[in-house]
Symmetry: C2
Subunit: 204 residues, 2 copies
């Protein structure tokens, strides 16, 4: 694995570049300079170029990058050329909103099922909401590797343990708590209150 010393932040920015490239594609732009793409992504041109060199050489000197080709390359690097199945655990307010949101599919992710302790029979956008008791079996059976966690703080760690035990390798955590997971599992946390608090420090 050469990935070992690529900054985590570079990987993160790759996704942002990818989104910008998508917009360029929609506008039938077929070549873009590091300067223009960096501007759209809110970074410096040298940083964009440095980020890309971790994975190879994709540009043409004197010209820039081919939008289509670069986008394809980033897809390859990020490894989601095929639809990646994701489960959502905790179908409360936030959870159901995310189910209804549905904007993930276009980015290569498909929410295949949701789980809740007290599932109402209703489903969103055809996504079944199942009892949490069935979660581990589902994960194993469908070989799901990614989960979105939107349960209240109290249940977060125990649900996480079950998911990890069943084979989940990556968790997008919205519960306002720090999850304890084994090394091979990745967690990205989005804590809304923390984000707000952080912002409030910077206002005068």
């Amino acid at each position: 694995m050469p990935r070992i010393d690529i900054p985590k932040k570079s990987i993160y920015r790759l996704s942002i570049y990818q989104r910008c490239l998508g917009k360029l594609k929609e506008n039938d732009v077929d070549t873009v300079s590091s300067e223009a793409l960096a501007k759209a992504a809110g970074v410096k041109p040298t940083q964009l170029r440095k980020d890309l060199t971790y994975f190879g050489q994709f540009g043409t000197r004197g010209l820039g990058y081919n939008v289509e080709a670069l986008s394809k390359t980033i897809s390859d690097v990020l490894g989601h050329n095929h639809l990646q199945p994701v489960i959502l655990v905790g179908a409360g307010n936030l959870g159901s909103a995310l189910l209804r949101y549905g904007g993930f599919r276009k980015e290569g992710f498909e929410v295949v099922a949701a789980f809740d302790l007290a599932p109402r029979p209703q489903s969103h956008l055809g996504i079944p909401i199942l009892p949490t008791a069935e979660m581990t079996e589902f994960i194993r059976e469908h070989q799901v590797k990614m989960a979105i966690l939107t349960v209240p703080t109290s249940g977060a760690q125990s649900v996480t343990n079950q998911m990890v035990e069943a084979g989940i390798q990556a968790i997008l955590n919205f519960s306002p708590t720090v999850l304890d997971v084994p090394d091979h599992v990745v967690v990205n946390s989005v804590d809304l209150a923390v984000e707000l608090e952080n912002l409030s420090y910077f206002i005068r």
Copy 2:
């Protein structure tokens, strides 16, 4: 302003420490060591101590930190001792879920109004949903400094321009786009698809 060379990430972690301290308070713990608190926050003890020294000395050598006092200090530093008013713009799926969520108040934030191009008369938890046309006036009148942005990509930049013009200084952005704002405005973006993409890179 001494804040100038304090790492942005330290500020961010302060919020996390604050949350952990809250849990300790609930359990009537009154003293905590850097080791224990760091563990709860998912960081190294030295990092916790370093983060705190940017703001002063709050511990007792040989003993640890007084939970109550440290929590109070962090509140002061983060500057949200009084309820901070926040508006939410874009009352679609995600926006209304956040309105209903309501967990912000406990952390010192109050969503005072929501805005939408096509507001249904209904309100969530007593928070009025008003037409976007009234937004700038509201911001000025109530001196609101913070906003949560949950409009679709297409409208994000123009709504942002209006908000900034009216005096908004901090934005928590959920629109999947990079916002262009003047230097005195802070933006924290949460892009769900980017988070998922980033996770997917790390699974094997």
